[in-house]
Structure formats: structure tokens, C-alpha cells
Symmetry: D3
Subunit: 238 residues, 6 copies
């Protein structure tokens, strides 16, 4: 994976909300993976390039429990092939009636150094997954084995996840608000802009707590806001 | 705002469930704001008169990021005009695909003494908002800027929120079960009745924990239940 | 209730995810009660035979608040008749716009020794119910009295709950992932198989944390995995 | 069935819209079977007392295709037992993913003199059913056999259908707008009032086509409207 | 209403699909009123400027049947005030459980010269409305009186309808595919462009029927396509 | 395409309902494409092998209107490459907010000899498409260009369509009830069995119209039913 450490660090320090605004300024309205939440909202921000798995509806004759005895089964193969540092993103067609994966596979991803996992369906063993170090996102817990509804069919192709387009290599950022998809070619400029925006938002938050009105301050339409911000940055070393 | 402190205190001491029953007795079946939950369920009960903001679907040409530079933008103006002690209620058409507001605006509402905030959409920066003192309610976190889907259009008009009718001045009460809308003219009688009901429910709960059957006790169809309750109230000073 | 203590203990020690897989192997795909979650995910696993209550949509003239003065009202009667050790399961037609029950009734169930309660609607007084010892599952909190939308009509008949079929006497198991329905005649064999599967899954989890690949291990297609597991069981006394 | 021919005739001559208004005046807001439409909107109005069939979600082991070889299977038995003149109402839990019934059973109902059939799911062989004389209502066509999702469990018990409560013996009226449920004890007074309302609405429609404003006319708040209506009734012999 | 007859004529001769594409080229993605269909798909195309009515959820005490005796009731007043040539657009919050209007009011609109009516809810008396000359659009038939769920609250304010933003004076065009909202200031240029596009599409359709491939033809990336089109226009006089 | 003419003819003479039952007997419960209907229910039955197109959510920067100028755009290429006799099946993720295709492309498919088209989204120019000879199925009309929500990404890969799994080469059969997917390897045996079942169902329908009870007849549990059927077949030459 080619995501530079410096970019990764920048993205870890900003919020999905800020990234969404930076994307919105460039005309992107559908990069948020809708209706997906962290299993543990207190984890650090997840950042990594998308490695994808595509499910289609399961056909009964093709999905006996014995399919997992085949090493080439796409779900199992994907878990062993997802690069360290990447985010494993599953297209479950927003169907959480069966699990997208369970704690053993997610543990394996963690051990392999994968940066996180996202499905627009649900995970089984949700409590165990929440306790792992690896950040994970889904729509709700779901105990039935994935074979009940999902057949893994493709690895690392463009997919939809939570109504957002996800291309392999796009950068996924996830925090308590959910997950956002940064188009690969924009990662660097979005990261830079988001860091700048975050500094200003932190300044604004401080001022608002001190009692200042948002008029002129948020956004900075008054000269004084810009002057104060410059002073604040200097004082804070940001 | 004209909500008397004594009424506010009574409503802070009762539950939305009890209020719903008192409203039900008077023929009201749709005063619960559906599918809305507190960002932090451990906060004290929220009480205040409704101050409303109405959103319509966003039109792309009318919602560049620059609209917030205009002080008369209805979202920003509403945040500065909402009276202390009021509850800020947003009609987001049950659409949580974009945020209804973020932590900076909610912080400003808190600093201004506003009693709480409710949307039938979602908030961005949900973790930060949850940590504020001001009670807040939404359907789920949502990172995209409100401009992505919502255009603020009207301040303090009657709205729908979570399928409930909300008129400016109605009293909103919110706890872990969600938010209920008390029609303005009924506030006092509902508050009084709910306090009485709560005393009886507390008595019943105590008796049920002691092993008594609900028959004759809940509701109080047996004379003995009423006698015991009278004694209990005296003993408890309620 | 005829559920043997030994079976109950086995089911308390396994997960709904494992049970779902055991059921899937026998051709059952719809035994998970969909979209239902524990009010407190940290409670021990709930196990018990289903005792059911069926609601239909409420008709206004039949549901004044006074109906509860009648001891034969099905909701109240069911609460007093549900056997100790059973799980109280409510068919609320997946409608959480009004409560299925509140804290007083759930407290009474707890005092009577009932093993748990499940609705595919919502509970009022959700925070109080969450604090009780009895495990409880619903789709979301809902403050309005059940009379607002639900009329209790039948006790202990076959019902649908969360799109799953529930026959009186089926065994309900509930954990953080939700609730699963084991057909009565399969309880013993499912319990036995799930215990065995759990042992292997615990072994696998340990090995995966140690760095082993899932190939050959999960499922155990390599001879070495079976040898290691035998040794592990002996060492662990399982 | 005890529905008098004169009442049946009156109800055949009025619309579900008018009946809904008459019910609304008496406090009934949920008697419309929601999201159900006629397979052939040109059929005469359907009227009859409800005879109900209740489905629960199908369990795989209980629903092999061979179950229909049993004459006591509730679906088949209900078709042979539904009284002539009644309306066959099926609670399919608003799930149209599998059929509620097909053309052979509906043909049998027609031959037996049944007045109509309604499901809140879907029918298979929808084109054939539409061509029959018997009026039929569903949400959409659905080819899979009912066993795929539905298990017939109860005959002639109170049910929910399209979010409306249906008690055996309630009178179902169906036209192009859908189906409404008249509580049994109100049938006669609703029929009488609806006939009167229909006369006035026909008069109003005629006047509106002639160019009269609805003010004062609809409703009849002006004396002149009432005078004109009296004359119109005399002229029309209604 | 200021919509020029020439513009109206142009828009009557093009399709909503073509208009959507013209809007898409200018960055508009949400101008289609979603999930709304004509009551009679064979009617001529509806064109007119939006005159809006806003509903909120009905509160029981404010909506007895007697409210219509008040001439200032917003629903009735709107019907009498909507300008000839305009399209009456109702924000029903996508809730078709109760009617947005019935045949008498729609007849009155027709007599008054109104160009059409749209709701994102449903109409009662749907068959009668379908037979009128005035084009009408809804999501599905719905018999219950509007008071059951809807309270008319505002006339001619900006609204949402079927997830599209509608400002008074925007031009609504409706055909068998549904209704699209043209922002007022773009009406003329959209009409002109759509007429041009329609000519080319008609030419393409003819050529495709004759067997030509879409490559190079649709869109016109080959010089020959443009030459043939020029000849075709001359021949057809378009 | 390898679908034999004799099999195609058999499948054209049976219904999707009968095919669903034949599939159900073999353990297939999810082969019906859910919530899809013919644009013209009077067309002959559609039969052909699936040729698929997969859409993902559209990303704004990748979907300017100019993309169609590229001959390799998957949507346009698929239309030119779909084999005569095949059915064109589109995975639109059940999202009908933008069109899956319009009349020009569908006309081109017809001219090329394609057997039909199905999407789990919607078509634009729905009236024109309905008038073509080629059978077409969607969920509802939708005017916005596909670029608004859909990006064509893959040709002839396995997809989900209306919650059913569709593999290239599976046989799609469509009639007024919708579309069913026959796994490729079962086509012949399903066709044969469905023809037999249809003969018996036609016999039963005739007998039911003559007044016979369904008991013993449907299914044929009585010897006499089988005798009569044998005679009926001989008489009818089937």
C-alpha cells in the first residue's frame, strides 16, 4: 500500500465531518458510507486504503457449510490477502440479516496488521470484535453465518458500500460519526485541507466556549477572527 | 419564554413514558418524536419550549459552502436567536444522510443557555456533542455538512419532527426513551398529573419488587392498594 | 417448563452465532429474531422456553386506559402466568412506535423468576429495564403506552417475532448479537453441538492470536489442526 | 353470515373514502388496510364480513411441499370453510416476498360464493386472479409459493392486516382506493350515514362542475347550499 | 402566473427524462419528485408554476371534522387561491396513510383552470380523479380523510415534495415517468435545450429502429451522425 | 447462447409461479427477483439466458455527461454486446431514484434480438419502453439519467438483482408476476417439470370452475383425481 505515513498521520488527526466538508467543496456529496457505526466508538480514528470484498445474495446449493473447506473461497482468501495497513471493505448490499464476518476472521485481520474493517451489513460476535484493537464498523450485530444470505464473489473490485462508491485504493477514514471514502487521487490535498480546517475549528470551539457569537467567527467573515486565529496558532504552535 | 420554573421542575422529575400516558388519556396518540434517541442517555431530563428550524431538501445552486458567510442564513440566525431555556427542534424530514448541525453550533446553543436540541436527522461530531452539558437527541450520527441534503428555510414555524406535530411554544421533554411534545395549553395539567402518576408508579415499583402481583395494584383496582399508597406517600413525604 | 438444567447451562455457555451455524447445517435460515438488541449488552446469556403474547393493531374504542382494570386483559394476565424460567416473547409486528411493555411489568416478570423478555417493538422506561437483572431485548426505546398502537389478543400461540417463527416451547437464546429461536425438538442436539463448536472456536481464536493462518485451521481441513485441538482440549480439560 | 342484504347494498353504493370519514367522526383513524390495491380496479365494490386467516413466518422443516396433502392444513381448510358472502382476509405481515394464495384457491372461493379476498402480502397468478369475477386486493404480485415465507396457523381469529385491526365479523368494504374495516357493531349506522354523505357529495360534485366555489358548499356552511341540496334530492329522487 | 405560453408549449412537447438530463448538465441531481406517478398515464404532459401547500402531522385536538367549516382553513383556501395555469404541489411528508385531497377539491381546481396537482402522499377517490381532465400525480390511492394524518399549515412557501426542493414559481413538468422541478430562473434555457435534445433523440430513435448501432450516434461522436441529423431536421421541418 | 429452442418454448408456456414451486421443491427460496414488474403485463412470457450489467453508486467526478462519448463505457458496450436471445439483467442496487436505462437503449436491444430486459431500479421513458415488443421489467418509472446515481462498472459478472442471485447464463423467465432466475444447470429439468405441473393445474382449474372441492384434487391425494386427469390429458391431447 502506498499511503504515506505522513498522510496517514494527518488523517488520523482530523474528523470524518471535516473531511466531508472538504469533499463537499469539491463537489462530492455521496462519499459517506451511510448507516454504519463503530462497534467501539472510543477507538482511535481508522485510516487505510480500501481493499474490497463483494457479496451477492446466497444461492442455497452453492453455500453449504462445507464451502469453507476450499482455500480459494473468496471470503477466506480475502482475509489472508488484504494488505497490512489497508481497510477491508465489504459490500453486503446493506443486508444485515446475516453476518458479514465474525470475530475469528476479524482477529486474523488484526494479527495481519490490517487497519480496520467496514461492512454495510452486520458482524456476528459483535462484543468480541468490539474488544479487539482493530477498528470495526457495521450497521448492527447479526448472528447468522454469512452463508445464510451472502455469497463472496469478487475480491478488490469497485463496490458500493452504504450507498457510497468505493474503489480499491480509495482511502477510508472512520471515527464515531462513521466512515468516509476519499477518492485516491485527492487524498493528499484533502488531508492537508482537513488539518487546516481542524485547527480553525478548534480555535472556534474555544472561542465559542468563551462566549463569542458565531457571527463573523464561523466562518471567519470578520477580520478580527482571522487576526485572533493567527495569534492562537502561534501560541498553540499549530 | 414563559414556562414557569415550577412547571419545568415538575417535568424534569417525570418520564416521557408517564407524560405519553397522560396525553393518551386526553386523546393524543402522536406526540412522541419517533426514532430519536439521546446522544448521552445519562443526562438529566430535558425540558423547554420548542423553538423550531425547518429544513427542505437542498438545491445544489443555493447551497455552496459560502452561504454561511451570510449572517441572515436561517440556520446560523436560529442558533443566535433561540431563547435561553428553549429547546431547539429541527425538522430534517427524518433524513440523516447529512448532518442537521455539528458541535460548534450546539456548543454555542449551550453557552447561550438553550435547554436542549432535537433533530429527526443526525448530528455530526456526535461524540463531542454527547460530552457537552446540553441534552441532545437525534436518530444517528451523520458526518456530511447539512448543505449536502438540507436547506434551512424557516425559523419558528409549526413543523413535523419524527412524525409528531411541533408548534412553537409546545413543551418538549426528553429522556432516555426519547422526546415528547406537550401541546402548550396542556403543559400545566400534564405536569401536575404526571407528578401524581409518578408517585403512584414509584410506589407500585417498590411493591412489585417486594413480590406483590400487579392485579389490583396496577392499576389500583383494589381498595387496599389505595390505602397502602396513602400510607406510603405519608411515609415518603410525597 | 421442561427445559433440563443441563441443557440450559450448555446454552448459557455458547453464543447465538454458534447456534445459528448449527441450525444452518440443519437447513434453518430464519431462526434469528431480526433487528432486536439487548437493553444491556453486558448481561449473561438469556435462555428459556418461549411463552408468547400476540398483539394486533389497536382499535381506539377497545383501548381506553381503563382496559387495564380488567384482570383478564391478556397483557396483564400473561405477565402473571408466564412460567418461571421461560422467556416472554411479544409479537409487536415490528412496530416500535408504541411500547410493548414498561418497567413495572418487566420488574414483575423478574420477581416471578422469568428468564427474559423479547419484543420486536420497543420498551418504555428503557433505562430502568436495562438496570434490572432480567435480560431484555427490543428494537429501540419507545415511550407511548402500548394501547396507542397494540392490542394484546392471544397468549401462548405461535407468533412471528422479528421475522422469525416462534412456537410456544421453542427455546430462545439471547446475547449481545440478539436472539435466536431453537425449535423445541432440536434443543438438546443443538446444545450439544454448539458446545463442541465453541471449544473448537476458542482453540482457533487462541491460535489466530498466536499468528496462525485460518487456512487449514478454520475449518479444520488440515490433520495438524485436529491433532493440536485434541492436545489443547486435554490441556484445558474441555 | 348475518350481514343484511339492505346494508350490503348500501355499502356497495358508497366509497371507502366516505366510510373513512364517517369512521373518523367516531374517533377511528386506523381502519384502512394500508398499501393494498385491487387487482382489477374496475370491479364493483366488495362488501362482506371478515373471515380471517393468520400466517406466521414459515419454518423450513414444517413447510415441505407435501403439507398440502393434509386436508386439515389451515390454508386449504379456510378456503373450504369461508362462508359465502364473507370476505377472506389474510394477515401476511405485509410480506409480499412470497404469495399469500394463487388463482386456483381464489377460483374456489369464487365458486363457493365468497364476496372477496384481501391480503397485505401478494398473490401469484395475478393476471388470472384479476380476470375472475371475485374482487381481490393485495400489495403487489408475488410468484413464490406461500410456503416459502408463510405458514398458515389460525383460522378466524383477530388479526392485523395492513396495519389495521380486523376482527372476524367486521365488515370489509373494498374499492379502487383500497379496503376499509368497519367494526361490526357500527356497520348499520356507518352504512346509513355514508349513503347520506354520498348524496351530498354527488350534489357538491355537480355544483363544482357548474363552477360554484367550495366555500359555503363543502361543507354546507351556507343556508343556500342546504336549500339547493334539498331541491336536488327531490329532483333526483334520492 | 408569468410563465410564457411559448415556454409552456415547449415544455409540453418534451419529456421529464430529457429535462432531467438538461438539469444534470447544470449540476442538479435532486429535482425529480421521487416515487410519484400519474393517476392516468395517458394524459398530456402537465406544465405550470408551483403553488404550494405544506402539511405537518395532524394533532388530534386541532383536526375535528368541523375545521372545514372555517373558510380560512389553509387546504380549502389554497384550492380557491391557486392561480389558473399553476400546478398545485402538496408536501405530505411522503405519508400516504391518509389522503392529501379528494375528487371534489381536485374538480374545483380543474374548473378554476389550474394546470395540475401533485402530492408525495396519496389521493382519495383516485378513480374519479383519474377521469378528470386535470393531470394528477401521487404515490398511491389513500381513502382516509386528510385530517387523519395531515394538518394544512402554510400556503405557497418553499417545501420538500418527494425529496425534491420546490420553491413557489418553480416550473413543474409531469408525464408518465413522474414530475420534475425546474428552478424558476432556468426555465427558459432548459425548455430551449430540451426541445433541441428531443429533436436529436427522435432522430436517434428512428435510426436505431432502422438498425444503426448507438456507437457514434448516441451521443453524436461521429461526424456522419451530425450530417444525417441536419438532413433529417430539414426533411422533418424541425 | 446455448438455450435450446425446445426448452425456451416450454418455459414460454409456463408461469413464474409454477417455476417457483418447482425450484422450491429443490430447496431454492430466493430465485424470484423481488419487487419488479412488467412495464406491459400483456406481453408474452420472457425467456432467455442472463447477460448482466453491474452498477455501483455514481461518483460525481467520474460521471459527467461526456462519459457516453467513450465507446468503451460499460453501459453502452453492454447494449451492443448482449447476445440475441439473452435477457439483459441490471444490478441497480434496488435504487430507482435514477434510471437504469431509457427507451433508445432498450430499442437498440430489441433491434439486436435481445429477449428482454430487467432492472431492480427503474426505466425512464417508461411509456415508450412499454410500447416496444421487447418485454421489460423494473420497479417503477424514473426519469433522471443513470449517471445521477449509477456508474456502470462490470459486464457479465454474477450480480444480485432484487435480492436474487443472478449468474451469467442462468435462465430468466418473466411474466405478469415478475421474474424468476433458474440456475443454469437445472433449466431442462425445471422446464420439463413445470410443463407437467401446468397441465395438472389447468385440469384443476377447470374442475374447480365446475364446482369440485380442492380437497383430494389439489394436490391429487385422491385416486379419482389422478384417473380424471389421465382422461383429461387424453381428451386434450396434452
Amino acid at each position: 500500500m502506498s499511503l504515506k505515513a505522513s498522510i496517514r498521520d494527518k488523517l488520523k488527526a482530523v474528523s470524518t465531518a471535516t473531511i466531508c466538508t472538504a469533499l463537499y467543496k469539491r463537489g462530492f456529496r455521496n462519499q459517506m458510507i451511510q448507516d454504519v457505526q463503530p462497534l467501539d466508538a472510543s477507538k482511535p480514528t481508522m485510516v487505510g486504503e480500501a481493499f474490497t470484498l463483494r457479496y451477492i445474495p446466497a444461492r442455497e446449493d452453492l453455500n453449504p457449510i462445507s464451502v469453507f473447506q476450499d482455500r480459494t473461497h473468496p471470503q477466506r482468501r480475502a482475509v489472508e490477502e488484504c494488505p497490512p495497513g489497508a481497510v477491508f471493505v465489504i459490500d453486503s448490499r446493506k443486508d444485515a440479516r446475516a453476518a458479514s464476518a465474525g470475530s475469528i476472521l476479524v482477529t486474523r485481520l488484526q494479527v495481519r496488521g490490517v487497519a480496520g474493517i467496514v461492512t454495510d451489513g452486520g458482524f456476528r460476535d459483535a462484543v468480541e470484535i468490539a474488544k479487539l484493537d482493530i477498528p470495526s464498523f457495521h450497521s448492527r450485530p447479526s448472528a447468522p453465518t454469512n452463508l445464510t444470505r451472502h455469497q463472496a464473489i469478487d475480491i478488490n473490485v469497485p463496490i458500493g458500500c452504504g450507498d457510497a462508491p468505493v474503489f480499491p485504493g480509495d482511502v477510508i477514514v472512520g471515527d464515531a460519526d462513521g466512515c468516509v471514502v476519499i477518492p485516491a487521487h485527492l487524498t493528499e490535498e484533502i488531508a492537508d485541507e482537513a488539518v487546516e480546517m481542524t485547527a480553525y475549528e478548534d480555535f472556534v470551539t474555544e472561542k465559542v466556549f468563551e462566549g463569542r457569537s458565531i457571527f463573523g467567527l464561523y466562518p471567519a467573515t470578520e477580520e478580527q477572527s482571522r487576526i485572533d486565529f493567527t495569534a492562537w496558532r502561534r501560541a498553540k504552535g499549530r
